[in-house]
Amino acid sequence: MRTLFAIAITITVVLLVLSGTAFARGQAELDEVERVEPVELVFATSVSTPNLHPYNEVSDARMRRSPLMYDCLVDWTDDFGVEPALAERWEYDGNILRFHLRENVLFHDGTPMTSADVVYSLGKVLESPGAGFYSQILDVTAVDDMTVELELTTPSDALLAALGGRYAYIVPEGADEDHDLSVTAIGTGPFKVDRFAQGESLRLVKNEDYWRADEVGVDVLTIVIVPDEASIAAGLRTGEIDAAIFEDARIARLVEGRAGITVFEETAARWDILDFFALDREPWNNVRLRQAISAAIDPEAVMELAIGGRGTLVGGHPPALWGALPFEDAPYGRRDIDLAKQLLEESGVDTSGAFKLISIQGYGALNSGAEVIVDQLGELGLDVEIEIMELGVWIDTFVNRNHETFSMNSWGGWIDPDQLYFNHLHMQPGGRDFRIWNNEQVSQLLDDARASVDRAEREEIYYELQRILVEEVPWIPLYSADFVGAHRNNVGNWGVHPSGFYHDLRWVTVQAD
């Protein structure tokens, strides 16, 4: 016994001495370290991607990271236009969209990019879970080594925008069979995968053969996953982390006003809404009831409690996306309890029973917002009970169009209004009409907007659509939550694309402290 005890004490002492020494040495190294080559950007987020697969993985987290490793035929501009990427130029020829590819572009494995790779990649895209974004494509063919033609149902700028991200990444022919794209990436993008530790970090090193290599800001880009966002704030303060975007905007308060740190807030193409389902039956087919609820809700109060006011009020759709109807033009977008009571009376709906409002488990902002809505509808005389539904069950019910009441809803990441509206509101077949609205006029407008390649014309169509939406109220926009985060002041060229995808990290620079 005594021997055992003595051994244990010795081990402890040795361990303590070693850890103490190591700690001191580590601290000293930290104090003395100077930023020399390679320049590294450490970007933190609490959201991890399950894998890196450009065609199979559906999470926003994967889509956000893909532009760092892959290129598309076109790239998105900050105002959701498109600019040349792997395609130097393109033209419509009737229903044919012809792409002329950029010369001398190399994949990460050193092979040159040709039209065969594009045909192979777009074939994968059309088999992916995101194929719905590219449904206008009928066929893809290689005309010659550097020219690809897409046969379309109709010329479509919505499709052109869709080809700038999400799933539309170009890999070498056979890459999905020859490599495990879940844990690595073989693209033409600005960074190569050095190490992917699922749920922990993604370390990327600069691709020196990148066709815009001169513009890439850092040699190493490390994305670290820190589940507890208070720890991200701590890392920013100590300099372990250079930049971060917070999922919980309230975390920004922990670093606000700190020397050497800048807190940023950028508008985003996403929103939280109060969504009406089962519009084909009582009571939700009653437009006066929906209007009354809309007039009873104060979106500003909801936004304040749900996301600490760090967002933008929405009229038709989020202003970060082009073609948005301003908040001021929405007739029911602000609280008017007298009007709400009048509309409710006109609706003739029996309000003696309780209404059920669904919110989604794990969505803190939605759940907080739902509480405010219940209070405000209480003043209207509606007895509303909240039911928190597990996300998987909610999605299953949603996809099968089985929701029977109104629900909080949150989504975004669009790069074109078509992606926001078409599947949601277009009648079946064509769209999914998740709310069973069966609105022919809306479906026609969506078809017209999809078939146009003139942005001004499309903008007019979407304005008209939004005027119908704010009048008929199939949903009530609550707010568009901004992207909130912070970076250290030695980080330059900082920007966040309104889609939330990490396009802009390509150009970020880091100066010595």
């Binding site: 070693l18 199979n56 507890d228 372990e240 998987g392």
Partner: protein, 318 residues
């Protein structure tokens, strides 16, 4: 002894199977499946697509077929592929197991040898005086605080007051011992403190009980010094129940690691398990639970054997 160990191993196998059945049942009772995370609802996914994904994962089969198929694979040494990440479960699990075991081992060391036993010894030696009161109040305070809160406070205090935060990515101690220690010392201390609080109180009580025994009185009558009596006679005997407790606490530490790993961003089995549960990634959940369960069962057998070694009066296999 060998028969005893064999029998315990067989019982352990049964326990592990029961554990797997329980977890499988519970996972199936939780609403929602992984399917909803494998479709892109923004792209207009249809019910037919949902059914396709379900069939691909084998979720359309009866539960007993799913379970037996998984168990057969495990017996063949195949833990399957993560439904969510499409990465083999073994590849996900093994590197994380090293992190969790290191964390639990360091915490156990801190809770028992660094804090628990010395704290109990001090409290017993200075019974009913201020050091005793201090140790008892401190241990009670630590026991009253949730481990995740303590972890968060550690991060806040160390980053705010001292301008120090642990490294963000884990490195093996063999690769860089210093970086590894800087990452592990705070979570291990936070976790170890909770374990130490129990051990302090147990060690104190155990020593006080032993100090009242006849053989201690006999030792005193021979003129032995108090130090010799305490360290030479009382402590070794008082530590026998403490060893059992310390062993059982290792299980608690493995459980606590689930929370602490999340707070300190440690890529261990606990964090993997939490992530897999939220994603309904059954193969990963089952593998994590099975691994932790088997570890605990083996540890319990080891403690029983150690107990018999420390106390010759105990005969195993009786």
């Amino acid at each position: 002894m060998a028969v005893y160990i064999l029998r315990r191993l067989i019982y352990g196998l049964g326990t592990a199977l029961g554990l797997v059945l329980l977890v499988f049942g519970l996972m199936n009772l939780i609403p929602g499946t992984v399917v909803s995370q494998l479709i892109d609802r923004a792209a207009g996914t249809s019910p037919e697509r949902l059914a396709e994904v379900e069939a691909f994962l084998g979720l359309d089969r009866p539960w007993y077929v799913q379970l037996s198929s998984w168990l057969l694979d495990v017996l063949r040494g195949d833990l399957g592929i993560s439904w969510r990440s499409r990465i083999p479960v073994v590849q996900l699990l093994l590197p994380r197991l090293a992190v969790t075991l290191e964390l639990a081992a360091m915490s156990a060391l801190i809770s028992s040898i660094v804090l628990g036993v010395p704290g109990g010894l001090i409290a017993a030696t200075y019974r009913n005086s201020w050091p005793d009161a201090l140790v008892r109040v401190a241990s009670l305070a630590v026991l009253s605080v949730p481990v995740f809160w303590m972890g968060s406070m550690f991060i806040l205090v160390f980053s705010t007051a001292l301008g120090w935060s642990p490294p963000l990515t884990w490195v093996s101690p063999l690769q860089d011992f210093g970086a590894n220690m800087r990452m592990m010392i705070l979570p291990a201390t936070a976790l170890g403190l909770v374990g130490a609080a129990t051990l302090v109180r147990m060690t104190r009580n155990s020593i006080l009980e032993v100090m009242g025994q006849n053989y201690i009185r006999t030792a005193r009558s021979t003129g032995a010094s108090e130090q010799r009596i305490l360290l030479g006679h009382a402590l070794p005997n008082a530590l026998i129940p403490v060893v059992t407790m310390a062993g059982l606490q290792f299980g608690f530490l493995l459980g606590g690691a689930v929370v602490i790993e999340e707070v300190f961003s440690l890529p261990g089995v606990g964090r993997l398990l939490l992530q897999a549960i939220s994603q309904r990634d059954y193969p990963v959940v089952q593998a994590c639970v099975l691994t932790i369960g088997v570890l605990l069962i083996l540890l319990n057998i080891l403690i029983d054997v150690l107990y018999a070694y420390l106390d010759p009066r105990i005969k195993l296999g009786d």
